[in-house]
Amino acid sequence: MMIKSMAEYAANGEQPEVLFWVGCAGSFDQRAQKITKAFATILDKVGVKFAILGKEEMCNGDPARRSGNEFLFQMMAYNNIQTLNGYGIKKIVTACPHCFNILKNEYPALGGEYEVIHHTTFLQQLINEGRIRLKEGGSFKGKKITYHDSCYLGRGNGIYEAPREVLQALDVELVEMKRCRTNGMCCGAGGAQMFKEEEPGTTRVNFERSAEALDTGANIIAANCPFCTTMLTDGVKNKEKEDEVKVMDIAEMIAASLAE
């Protein structure tokens, strides 16, 4: 399978259907790379004409802005918008809710206006349009699964149903955590916390959240964000449950359930 960059599309005078904004975690983090590959596999199998920016993509600036470093954020945003506008990008899909939120809500004020869509919503659309066809009796059928609302997809942008509908399409038994949807609890990574030690407290945010997820008795914790995936995986390990309970991105679950 060939993954083409925007530069290659432009060289051939072509436009892709959608730009896949991979994000830093999806590009570099080993665990998140698997999510990236799963999502790219789905797009390829389904026949969505997509491009990546490749080496031209830069951090969107979210951790800089949330930590308080507006200068750095504005610099990253300026460069990214130059690149995106230079290619005449209209539609972007991303597998990271932080990238999604920044590109969708914070770039327009800086001159970067695009249709931005999170990969869970994109997957839901592909399923509804019949472009994604799923195996009969896939490996998740009847499995007990709980879904973790990421802050920037849920509260930040009000998207609660699309990811759940994708899970329902897999015929899973969806069990909700006590704190879900608008009350969903953070994994502890947002606001640039991912990149520093937590302040002193009684426990870690990801331990608290993972314990709640484990309390549901689910075999799989479904996530929609590479940072949540990391945080929850660590939390499950902390409780020594990593053999029984897996943390998976929704894209990985779909990729594993595609009809041949």
Binding site: D29, R65, G68, E70, M185, G191, A192, E198, P200
Partner: protein
Amino acid sequence: MHLVQQILFILLGGTAIYLFTKKVGSIRRNIMLGRDEQINDRPSERWRNVLLQALGQKKMFKRPVPALLHFAVYAGFIIINIEILEIFLDGILGKHRLFAPLIGGLYPILIGCFEILAVLVLVSCAIFLVRRNILKVRRLNMKELNGWPREDANLILITEIVLMSLFLTMNTADLVLQSRHYEHYTVTSIFWISGNFTSLFSGLSDTTLVGIERICWWLHIVGVFAFLNYLPYSKHLHILLAFPNAYFTRLEPQGEMDNMEAIQKEVLYMMRPELAPAAGAEQPAHQRFGAKDVMDLSWKNLMDAYSCTECGRCTASCPANITGKKLSPRKIMMDTRDRLEEVGKNIDKNKSFVDDGKSLVHDYITVEELRACTTCQACVEACPVGIEPLSIINELRRYLIMEESNAPQEWNLMSGNIENNMAPWKFSPDDRDAWALEMSGS
């Protein structure tokens, strides 16, 4: 005797209203100390929020039990004000139950409804006292409430109970006097609640009953005037500010952070110097980056602080607080209000603000608290009156990083990586599409 009461009432009412107006003026001035921010788009959505959030208390109903009790107190407060209107007019005009002859048979029904509400208010306030002081609900017993905030909350509840008891006692005495056709006590039908208690007073003499009725009437209205003037000093100000606060609450997605245009321009001029204004051209005065003190915050942040009733729903949902960190979004709001009040007093004393060597960051809110925020917006989501603690936290964090260069070492590394490697980790930008090459190879 009537005339003396009339004059006394007018004097008292006038003073109460004057003092209240004056204090409201000073709160308004304090709020206006904040930075200017234009909030006037989409009025129909804003009015919708006033109706749903403030009037309808939509967000309260996430927790049904306190929501129902609160709704009873709130409905009671609003509707019983019609009765206060009658009391007020009676006081000025020297009349007794002015509305009774005007609306005839409807009057006892109306008063009956007020009485039912009064009982609901009384019972709800009693349950609230139990929740606070006996059941010790966690969010109502955290350490930031020690001292005045706790007393304030209890005082309000006790005052409401006393006011409602006075209202019911007054009606009971009135009914007995009515049944004796005593002087000007207009005969109405029995009131639904107080009507059940007349036997308690039946043995008392006419003068004692008039005494009870008058004392209750006076204490009730004096209590109302006192309460009116207590409001602006109390967390209870939310009963007024919830409405404008719901109107001005943000309509943008909660995940969106406010843009800093000044920095956007600086970066633009750095990247494209040809766009920069010519040297010597008038430069806008430098505004502090982020917020060090209350004056650096937006007026909406400051109105938020006055609208907070310290219910602690924000703190109860804060992941940092839940896991034992020092951050409490409620405390952020309380600190902002306390500091603003202090700045206001400073201005009252010195005509304009004289530096007192203090600021909101460090003296009220510590770096440790600010650092613990994950920007998850749970506090914003939880607030029933549209307060945004996160907005204040973000502005204070901006100040720490951009004006004080005050960041943990890990954040400095992260920023360095973003700047040099275009990613928060130390990876080579050349490897950004390594995963794609791997896939292409397979």
